[in-house]
Symmetry: C2
Subunit: 133 residues, 2 copies
DNA sequence: TCGATATCGGACTGAAGGAGTCTGATATAT
DNA sequence: ATATATCAGACTCCTTCAGTCCGATATCGA
C-alpha cells in the first residue's frame, strides 16, 4: 500500500531525538521510547538495526545507550529507512538489478522504476538535520 | 515497506493495455489477463474497481469488456493506484487531514508529509500515455 | 566481587492485510 | 435459450508486521 513500516517511523523518531540532543551524551532505548509512547522492546530492536548499519554507536552497561555515529547533516531519511526496511522499492516484481521476476511482458516496469528513483531521491535529500529544523 | 500492492501493479498494466489499444473496442478481463500471466479472477476484481472509480467503462454480455473512460493522456498513475489502494499515504499515523493519531509528540510527521506530497506529485504527473510512449 | 543497567540476538506469538479463489447474480449479443 | 461478460461479496491461505520474551554479554558503580 505504499506505506512505511512502523519500525521505520520509530527509527526516524529515534534518530531525530538523538539529533536533537546531539553532543549531550548517549540515550538508552528506554529514554527514547518513553517520550513517544513506543514499546521499549520494539524501540530497542529498531535501534539495534540502526547500529548494525552504522548509523548509530552503542554503549553497553549502565549509563550506556545510543549516540549518532555522525552529525545529523550527514544522515538522511533514506539511510534510516533502508537500515530498517531494506531497499526502497515500490514494486515487488523487480530485483535490485531492475530485472522483472514475474513476467517479461511487464509494460510498466520502466516507468515505475523512474518513479521509484524520484522517491529515493526525495528521501535521500532529506537529512535528519533538516527534519529537526 | 513502501511497496505498491500487486493489485495496483495489475491495474497499471491493464490500463496501459487498454491505452495501447485505445479506440479498438473493448477487452475482457480474460483478454487482458492472458497477456501478462495474471489470474483472471483477480484481474476482473481490479478492473471492477477501476470502473467504480470512473476510470474505465464496462460492457456486459458477450463481446463485452472494458474500455478507457477517457483518453490515456488524462489518466495518471496516481488515478489508478488511488482507485485500487485508496489514498497514497506513506505514514499510517496520519489521517487524510494530516492529523497524527498515534502521538502528538511525533516529530517527523510534517517532514514525512512533504515527502508524501512529492511522491503524490510524481505519480500524478505520470500519465498512462507517457508510460506507453 | 556483586548487582544493576545496558545492549544484543534470536525465537516466538497474535493480529492484520495481501493474494487469490469461488459462488451466485445480472446483463447482453447471437 | 445459451454462451459470454461484468459484478459483488464472502471466503481461504499465506505472508508480513507489530510486539513480546528470554537468555547472553558488556559495563559501571558500590
Amino acid at each position: 500500500m505504499l506505506r512505511l513500516s512502523k519500525k521505520s517511523d520509530y527509527g526516524l523518531m529515534a534518530v531525530n531525538h538523538l539529533a536533537r540532543h546531539y553532543g549531550e551524551g548517549s540515550f538508552s532505548a528506554r529514554d527514547i521510547a518513553a517520550g513517544y509512547g513506543i514499546p521499549v522492546g520494539l524501540m530497542a530492536k529498531v535501534l539495534q538495526r540502526l547500529v548494525r548499519c552504522g548509523l548509530l554507536r552503542s554503549q553497553h552497561g549502565s549509563n550506556g545507550g545510543y549516540t549518532l555515529a555522525r552529525p545529523p547533516e550527514f544522515i538522511s531519511a533514506l539511510d534510516v529507512i533502508h537500515a530498517i526496511d531494506g531497499p526502497v522499492m515500490i514494486t515487488a516484481c523487480q530485483t535490485v538489478r531492475g530485472e522483472c521476476v514475474q513476467t517479461p511482458m511487464c509494460t510498466v516496469k520502466e516507468p515505475l522504476r523512474k518513479v521509484n528513483e524520484r522517491i529515493v531521491n526525495a528521501l535521500s535529500a532529506l537529512s535528519i538535520a533538516e527534519i529537526n529544523a
